[in-house]
Symmetry: none
Subunit: 202 residues, 4 copies
């Protein structure tokens, strides 16, 4: 009768309470599975039951922690969002910007990240994700702001520029090229963009 479908190879090393306790493990598995599901099927094709199966977990277990689809998707995405967040401080504005933009582009280019970024743009169109966008971009904006603030302190950037505006000018074309024109973004394009922005400082 003792059937253990989930071989916990961790329990062999330390059966006691650990960072990788069952709860934490389940959470990680489900979140990972949710991301896969999102990538494979898109949001509208996202099925809770399939996530449970992918995660090797019972469906009720998923609902216990994430009562609705939106919450699971949001949680899975936000978990992802917290990665890739180094705040560059190389002393050179161009280099800093290159790092910031590259990080976003890298995220955006990955299958999961693509959905994350897309969801962050759904604020106006998908009621249930009204807050994902602001949550997501707030952090990015503040990183950009820090970079520019330091540049202003160094005298490498004029103080009177609206930071949000610059952010939109830097990022907008990348977004448009990627999501709208359906073309990939390479380093050269990022450089080109930065170069153009830098001309505003003159």
């Amino acid at each position: 009768m003792s059937e253990d479908p989930h071989i916990d190879d961790e329990s062999a090393t330390q059966p006691k309470k650990r960072t990788g306790g069952r709860s934490a493990r389940v959470r990680a598995q489900v979140l990972k599975a949710a991301l896969e599901e999102l990538v494979d099927c898109g949001y509208s094709g996202f099925k809770m039951g399939r996530v449970a199966t992918r995660a090797g977990v019972h469906e009720t277990t998923v609902y216990r922690r994430w009562p609705t689809k939106e919450q699971l998707v949001t949680d899975a995405c936000m978990d992802l969002a917290d990665e890739h967040l180094p705040v560059p401080d190389t002393g050179d504005l161009e280099t800093d910007l290159r790092i910031v933009l590259s990080n976003i582009v890298k995220l955006m280019s990955s299958p999961e990240g693509r959905h994350l970024v897309f969801l962050s743009m759904s604020t106006r169109t998908i009621p249930e994700f009204e807050e994902v966008g602001p949550d997501f971009w707030r952090t990015r904006l503040s990183i950009g702001q820090q970079v520019f603030d330091r540049a202003v302190a160094r005298g490498a950037w004029p103080a009177n520029y609206d930071k949000e505006l610059v952010f939109a000018e830097l990022l907008g074309p990348l977004i448009a090229t990627y999501f709208l024109l359906n073309k990939e973004i390479d380093e050269a394009y990022i450089d080109e963009r930065i170069l153009q922005i830098m001309r505003l400082a003159d």
Copy 2:
């Protein structure tokens, strides 16, 4: 307000396909209802049954013409997309661009247009709308191209510029500001963008 779909005042005289025939009227009603539904509930909250009710039509009637949700949404949006498409030719590049961008912004700012534009960006994330984006932007791109081509012919714009790139640079910041930063777009911002682009021509 009082619209009784059962009053077939024209079907008796001309039951066949006419501009104002029942078929055409039903199509218009459903498409209009679909757009309303999309605006009110978003794509993932879009319900066929509710569209039928809104249109004062039986659900089966909707399915007869648009077998799936995606087709109805696509059809309703594309119907909308065909409006607002004047190709400006004022002889002045800046003015032409201002008109082109204004049209897009105007569309984007309307509740229905917002969804249309958003859908057009879903190419990479919503499998069933893979083709909506290209379909939608192809026309806009060609309009932009024509404007620039004429400017090139007039010597008002360098010939070697990648037209798609310029398109992304013009539109991207608007998209980012609107969908990402969640801020409205005014005429001044459009002007600013155009001014900045024009500096590339120098």
Copy 3:
């Protein structure tokens, strides 16, 4: 089949619910399956899904007509209750009573009827069946009343007897023997009961 063109009991006069229509067929199948389920598993083991399977019908279809378990059980039982309801009038009180009691015992002895009768006794203990009991016994009581009324008219039964009381005295021992002592009821026992009651008339 009928020769008389005026008697079109269902085909023409009632085109809405033809006896052989899909709806009617489904209803009959489900009700039959529900009764089987009740017999096999008892009320607390009664599963909607299993009823659907038994009926060869999708679960949703069951819920469409009977939103809750109680309604389905009630409906299935009441459908059954409407059978076995001849009102005897032989001119002899004893014979009439024998027929009435036999009918109840016959119902009670069948696997489905047992549950029906049991449910009809659940008024005080199963909140959701509060009304099944009264509904069920009202008819039986009135039949008994008619039998006794006719006997009174014939001078074969005193007028001053409480009819409900007599009903309880006739039926009670049968119920007790069957449900409480867990013994079967035969004709002889019924006769004995009637004989005993008749002594009250002397």
Copy 4:
């Protein structure tokens, strides 16, 4: 909430289950809560979790002792059944019967007892309570038997009467009146029943 250590009235004789021990207290609380739950919600509405809450005890604790719902319900009921069991011996059959019947009616009239008696009649319809009925009535039957046996010995009752039959004739009408006709039982009705039975002895 702490136990008074001086009340050890049974600790010497029965150290295993001290009256004031935690175990015994928990058992009593849960059983009491179970009875309340049964009264309030009926068997089919009986929820283990709610019993735990009522008892101020964790759900696991309930399951530890009563692995299934049926066991808890049965246990709670049977606990109750052991009360109200004096065996009358007044020397007068009528009086003895009056006491026996009154006890059953008293039990039946109480909210908890009503369920107990009802369950005892579920032998044929609720598989999991197949044995509750026999268990419950066996004791009552034997008490009745003793009463009649004594009467036979006194020559106050004929020897050839089937005791079970008499039991059914005595109790049946009460059961029918109470559970079926949904009317209360008073002392007068009991007296009337006994009177009628006594006529059989003549």
